[in-house]
């Protein structure tokens, strides 16, 4: 009897010897990873960059674990500092394709200052922020992206704070590409990441994601499918939404789409590093 | 050989530039080892300004970076002369701008007085090069540095459009020594 081993088409980009991964059943991060890899694969296929020139940098968090499973030059940096690490990589060797993946806390909380300044500089890196609206890795604490009123382990009476609208923030700073996606619409994640990877300057994709394990549990939706459906109901797709539609609120839901798509010169060009 | 030099005056008198030219002339355009420190008060004009330079034949001789017993001193203003006279040793050669320094205490110094600022103002057209007149006087009397080394240092340090005037002032100062 011949047993043929099935090979997933994305396996070539994965350190398969490190599987299984650590993400919980029903976690949205895996959806982001495969969509991202498909987008990367398409860009490699087009010859936009080479596989060995890709560097994926994560900070710390469930999302930031992704580089551990990727078969590129990868980095598991420290919490919040993936963006400046990536900036150093890009400036030291502009031919590298530098991608940052991180959670909402990693990128917009502790790393928020770096995000702002990388966007302001139109630094030539791509940042993919998986927004599960919570600090998942540490067990479900409040994130700067947790919508008002929701329960987390550190807001047991409901979140009294207003969340940060990262899309609007990054857009306001002049980034070349800003999109919001959702794990409920994987094909769009792929499209947006694909677009982001083809542009110069700072490109940013927020991906709304589900964390049934800690986020869902505390807001009373423990079931992964149910949480996924809940998010899907809240998400409206719009091809080119205006920034006014980027409002960020659990009750009114979320508009996903490409908010900014322009071609200002990136940092490397401004600095004279593109030769 | 090891010489301690102190230069002091008010902010705006070009004290630090004067110190810097000596440092560059000694380190870059002569064969000396040099240590120079500067201090100045927060306000750029009117406050205290002081440069301390130690010149030696070898790096080993330099040691402590600050002046303890100056062999050579330049005082461009009276207040600083009073304030820093304790750092100047007996027998030191002391230069002072008589435009502003009216009284000099009896400290056993070899005194060299000349109205640097007045000379700069009347003969060179601006009080701003009084420091270079003083430098010329210092070099002319002490022979610590060669004229060429100082002129090269001026070219190296001073803004291009000011080089000629500064050199002229320096040479005018050299002339004071032969008087």
């Amino acid at each position: 009897m011949v047993v043929s081993k099935q090979v997933h088409p994305l396996d070539k980009y994965v350190r398969v010897d490190r599987l299984p991964h650590l993400w919980c059943p029903g976690c949205g991060i895996g959806i982001v990873m495969s969509a991202m890899l498909r987008a990367i694969g398409r860009r490699i296929g087009e010859g936009v960059f080479k596989e060995e020139d890709i560097v994926v940098v994560g900070g710390i968090g469930c999302t930031a674990r992704m580089p551990l499973y990727l078969n590129f030059d990868t980095v598991h940096a420290i919490h919040g500092r993936a963006v400046p690490f990536a900036v150093g990589v890009k400036l030291a060797n502009p031919k590298l394709k530098v991608i940052v993946v991180g959670g909402d806390g990693d990128i917009a909380g502790i790393g928020g200052n770096h995000l702002m300044h990388a966007a302001r500089r139109n630094m030539d890196i791509t940042v993919i922020m998986v927004n599960n609206m919570v600090y998942a890795m540490t067990g479900g604490q409040l994130a700067p992206t947790t919508p008002t009123g929701l329960y987390t382990t550190t807001t047991p009476r409901g979140n009294p704070e207003k969340p940060i609208n990262v899309v609007k923030l990054v857009a306001s700073l002049g980034a070349n590409y800003v999109a919001r996606a959702s794990v409920t619409h994987p094909a769009l994640i792929e499209t947006y990441v694909y677009r982001a990877l083809g542009k110069e300057g700072f490109t940013f994709v927020e991906v709304l994601s589900t964390c049934p394990e800690v986020f869902g549990r505390h807001i009373g939706i423990k079931d992964a499918v149910q949480l996924f459906m809940e998010l899907r109901e809240k998400v409206k797709v719009k091809a080119k939404p205006s920034l006014n539609e980027s409002y960020y609120d659990w009750e009114s839901g979320f508009v996903i789409g490409e908010y900014v798509d322009k071609d200002d010169p990136g940092y490397l060009r401004m600095f004279g590093l593109l030769r | 050989m090891r010489r301690e030099i102190i230069i002091a005056g008010r902010g705006g008198q070009g004290i630090l530039l004067l110190g810097h030219v000596i440092g560059v002339a000694a380190a870059k355009f002569s064969n000396y080892y040099v240590t120079g420190t500067e201090s100045y008060s927060a306000e750029t004009r009117g406050g205290d300004s002081k440069a301390e330079i130690i010149v030696a034949d070898s790096a080993e001789e330099l040691g402590y970076m600050k002046v303890r017993e100056a062999d050579v001193a330049v005082f461009m203003y009276g207040d600083q002369l009073v304030k820093y006279s304790r750092l100047v040793k007996q027998g030191a050669v002391v230069f002072a701008d008589s435009t502003f320094v009216t009284e000099v205490p009896e400290e056993g110094w070899v005194l060299k007085l000349a109205p640097y600022t007045k000379i700069a103002e009347t003969e060179l057209g601006t009080p701003r090069v009084a420091n270079m007149v003083a430098l010329g006087h210092l070099v002319g009397v002490t022979k610590l540095l060669s004229t060429e080394a100082v002129e090269k240092a001026i070219e190296h340090v001073v803004k291009k459009s000011w080089v000629e005037l500064n050199k002229k002032a320096f040479r005018r100062g050299l002339g004071l020594a032969s008087n």
Binding site: E52, V57, D73, I78, V87 | G36, G63, M65
Partner: protein, 374 residues
């Protein structure tokens, strides 16, 4: 080779460029900003990149990234900025990233007197970050030595794949001196060892005989995993006591076993000295002047001056101090390295001469303190 009249800060910048610096990131802070300013002017002329980032945290993280992208990289800061850098420093240690940090001490605590000098941070520089590690720290006492030790810092860092610190102070930063600036061809410049095996066989954290792993960089085709978690030879997270112990011991041992590459000292009049002075950095200049003075007075004094503060040179100190009657540890703080010296010279009378001076303790003040012991 050329002679210049420059401060230690500029000498450090020149030393870095001579060593092949290709990336510098920094954040303005007194009394270090002129390194950033000077390099912003000079380094791009030599094909390098300089960027002022949003803070010191970004600066050192970018420097780590740049190093992994294959560049010799450096940042520079002073005391408060180093406080912000220490978390990332420990990241550089576990990932064995070559880089150089310039640390110009200024008088704290907190904002203190920003423009003025001290030697308060000799422990913070070494132990400020978390984890159990060794960290080479070199201490120049002149602008010339600032240049020379910067070249050495890059060599040590590249050779041992360990972040290396040049510990200067505000006094030196503001002192102009003659410096012989050598060209790269006149210097011994060492760069990180590259892997000799093909990518399939390469393990990014498998050490050579010197305990240092060859380093493949991004874009070299080796698909490296730069891991801040405890990792095995492949760079894979391994939370076991066995791997933890192996990793920690190697990180520490690779520096200790190669400490002869780092440790260096100078002595002055120490043979037959009755009194040995231990001093480092700018303070050693004052002590040197004092020792010469004491010798002129017929007092048998000598100076031992480490050029590397860490790892602490126990052997050299023991040897030099073996015949001495008393050892004075003179520092511009209330007595910090004193503890280290006293511990090494347990059977000697070691006296702490801690003097607080916003510039540098003067020979006269030191003499005043020690005279009762002579």
């Amino acid at each position: 080779m050329r002679a210049e009249y420059v401060t230690s800060n500029i000498a450090i910048a020149e030393g870095a460029m001579a060593s092949g610096l290709k990336f510098f990131a920094g954040y303005p802070i007194t009394p270090t900003s002129d390194i950033l300013e000077y390099l912003a002017e000079e380094l791009p002329k030599r094909g390098g990149v300089v960027i002022q980032l949003e803070d010191e945290i970004a600066s050192i993280n970018a420097v780590i990234g740049a190093s992994w992208a294959g560049a010799k990289a450096m940042t520079a800061t002073s005391s408060p900025g180093y406080s912000l850098m220490v978390e990332a420093l420990s990241f550089a240690i576990i990932t064995e990233t070559p880089l150089v940090v310039v640390y110009v001490m200024r008088a704290g605590p907190s904002t203190g007197v920003p423009t003025r000098s001290c030697q308060y941070d000799v422990f913070q520089v070494r132990y400020g970050s978390h984890g159990n590690y060794e960290l080479p720290v070199l201490v120049p006492w002149s602008a010339q030595e600032a240049f020379d030790l910067t070249v050495k810092a890059f060599n040590v860092s590249e050779m041992l794949r360990v972040p290396t610190v040049i510990l200067s102070d505000a006094m030196l930063a503001h002192t102009w001196e003659k410096v012989i600036i050598r060209n790269p061809s006149e210097l011994k410049i060492i760069s990180r060892r590259k892997p000799e095996v093909p990518p399939q066989e390469y393990m990014p954290f498998k050490p050579g005989e010197d305990l240092v792993p060859p380093m493949a960089c991004f874009g070299d085709g080796y698909k490296v995993m730069v891991e801040s978690l405890t990792h095995d030879e492949r760079g894979y997270y391994s939370p076991t006591t066995e791997v933890q112990e192996r990793m920690i011991r190697r990180l520490v041992e690779k520096v200790r076993r190669n400490s002869r590459l780092i440790i260096d000292y100078e002595t002055y009049f120490t043979s037959s000295a009755e009194y040995i002075f231990f001093a480092y950095g700018s303070t050693a200049r004052s002590v040197y002047a004092l020792v010469k003075e004491l010798r002129r007075e017929g007092i048998r004094a000598g100076l031992y001056r480490p050029k590397a503060l860490w790892p602490f040179d126990e052997g050299g100190l023991k040897k030099i101090a073996s015949e001495a009657k008393r050892v004075f540890v003179v520092e511009n703080n209330v007595g910090l390295m004193y503890k280290e010296v006293a511990q090494v010279l347990r059977d000697k009378e070691v006296i702490s001469v801690g003097i607080i001076d916003l510039d540098v303790p003067s020979p006269d003040r030191i003499k005043e303190v020690i005279s009762e012991w002579l």
